[in-house]
Symmetry: C2
Subunit: 315 residues, 2 copies
């Protein structure tokens, strides 16, 4: 039985193996993903993003528990930040998820961002696809919103929650407009801290300035204390409301088309590059070009054009 079939039968170890194959960039993984694809599209993808220290992992843990109580199977893809500066807190956070370790209905997978060969957003999409095929009802993607890659990732989510905390830096006003565009729901976590109401109010005010027209989704600001579990049910309620909105409106088709486009483009970019690399390595083209660049007789722009022409036969 192929790995893909085993995954479709709900075999967790097969899913883990396939994810490893994806990581290792094995060609067989693509064959398996092709087999899985027609059987996917059932999982609801939830993106959780926010700055380091906002308590995202604890929130994900609580959301997982809540969805489990409702009988949902939950997959979690935690993106381990690339940055040498965001520290090693992630591993510690993951340990909190231990309470789900013996629960067959929860599947947790960390993805390291550093050195993700095929691009991080592609790997994340592929891993989420495997979780979907495995029968997870909800797939939570948790990411520190620090780089373009990480922001791209949450675009693949049906619903994106942006998690903030009171007293982060100077002023919520200083936070770039980008944050307002990516969130369907805003959460002020650690709401027992001083300044939580102010942070929530300021966020709400900023959101008012970009009110969507009647009938479209308008993000709200919720407060949670993930550590104590306060506000979690309200958050789950809001998530389900956004889901209902999404599926009752035309926007679900636009969303899916956009998501497919992005996933396809990631794969195409990746495979084009691999092909070019193989092409250049067979006949020593790459070494020749590098020698030329070293003595400045070849510039990298013309070199790229040459390879492109040769590869496509001027198509």
């Amino acid at each position: 039985m192929s790995l893909a079939e085993q995954v479709l039968n709900g075999n967790i170890r097969a899913a883990a193996r396939l994810m490893r194959d994806i990581d290792d960039n094995r060609p067989q993984a693509v064959a398996d993903l092709k087999l899985l694809y027609p059987r996917t599209g059932n999982a609801y993808i939830l993106g959780i993003t926010g700055p380091p220290g906002a308590g995202k992992s604890t929130l994900v843990d609580q959301l997982t528990a809540s969805f489990r109580k409702k009988g949902n199977r939950v997959g979690v893809v935690a993106i381990d930040p690339t940055s040498p500066f965001t520290g090693g807190a992630i591993l510690g956070d993951r340990i909190r998820m231990n309470r789900h370790a013996t629960d067959e209905g929860v599947f947790i997978r960390s993805l390291a961002t550093r050195g993700a060969l095929g691009g991080l957003s592609r790997s994340t999409s592929d891993v989420a696809l495997v979780m979907d095929a495995l029968g997870m009802d909800i797939v939570i993607i948790e990411t520190v919103g620090v780089g373009q890659d990480e922001v791209d990732i949450v675009k693949a989510a049906h619903t994106t929650c942006v998690v903030m905390v009171p007293g982060l830096g100077d002023d919520i006003q200083a936070i770039k407009a980008g944050i307002l565009e990516i969130g369907d729901i805003f959460v002020v976590n650690k709401a027992d801290r001083e300044g939580a109401d102010r942070t929530a109010r300021e966020l709400a005010t900023m959101l008012e300035f970009r009110m969507a027209p009647e009938g479209l989704w308008n993000p709200h600001v919720l407060k949670t204390e993930a550590q104590r579990g306060t506000g979690i049910e309200e958050l789950v309620g809001e998530i389900l409301q956004h889901r209902e909105y999404l599926f009752s409106s035309e926007s679900i088709n636009d969303f899916l088309r956009e998501r497919n486009l992005r996933h396809f483009m990631d794969i195409l970019r990746d495979s084009l590059f691999k092909k070019a690399l193989a092409f250049m390595e067979t006949d020593g083209t790459l070494e020749r070009l590098l020698d030329g660049m070293a003595n400045h007789s070849v510039d990298p722009y013309s070199a790229a054009e040459k390879v492109l022409s040769a590869l496509t036969g001027e198509r």
Copy 2:
């Protein structure tokens, strides 16, 4: 006279225009870059990276002043972070550089990371190339080391300074090993703060564990107070020492080859993708594939393979 020729004549406004053309992805920009390329390779690229709040901009400002005093012309490429979470401090920091605003020997350019079409590391390389052609002796690339892109950028620098501050998060031990690999020089800035000595000592201890063999470069840890200008001359001295090391050893050729390879690959990846996009758009292939993915009759992996085959004629 072409824009390229004007840049080579030291025309700052022409350089600014070319950088804008690069940003806008104009084909003419590539033609100009090709003309510039053989006349570049003279600038020394200095990378400054570190977490938000480490005082990098102030340090860059002081380094700029110091290099100016030595008669060097200085270009600064400041990478404006992508993250919606790192806040709007950058703009404020840039204002400090105002003291150089009327100095023809200083050229400052900010690059926004969000939505950089051709990839951030490519844009940065291209902009640094223009500064090089313009006659800048030193090009300082300042980036918040938060994403893979940003880390890749400093790999293009001859010398990379990693800037830390005391009391950042819990413990220096928690900082990922990645940080040690990218730095040629480590700076503990805001050295008047409590814990500065401890941070410096811990960094030094971590570096000892990976001592390079005799004859190779071993990074040191320096302390600065950029606000007051303390430690700047020592830092410049260390940078010049690293430069001397680099050029006196074999490693300069490896470094340049590696850098050329990366720049070339960035360009190739970009142009391959543009070609594929144009190819798919001419005959409606893209729309057809997206329709297929929408009804799950086509998977994105097979779709990418089809486009690749068509584009290369199975080459």
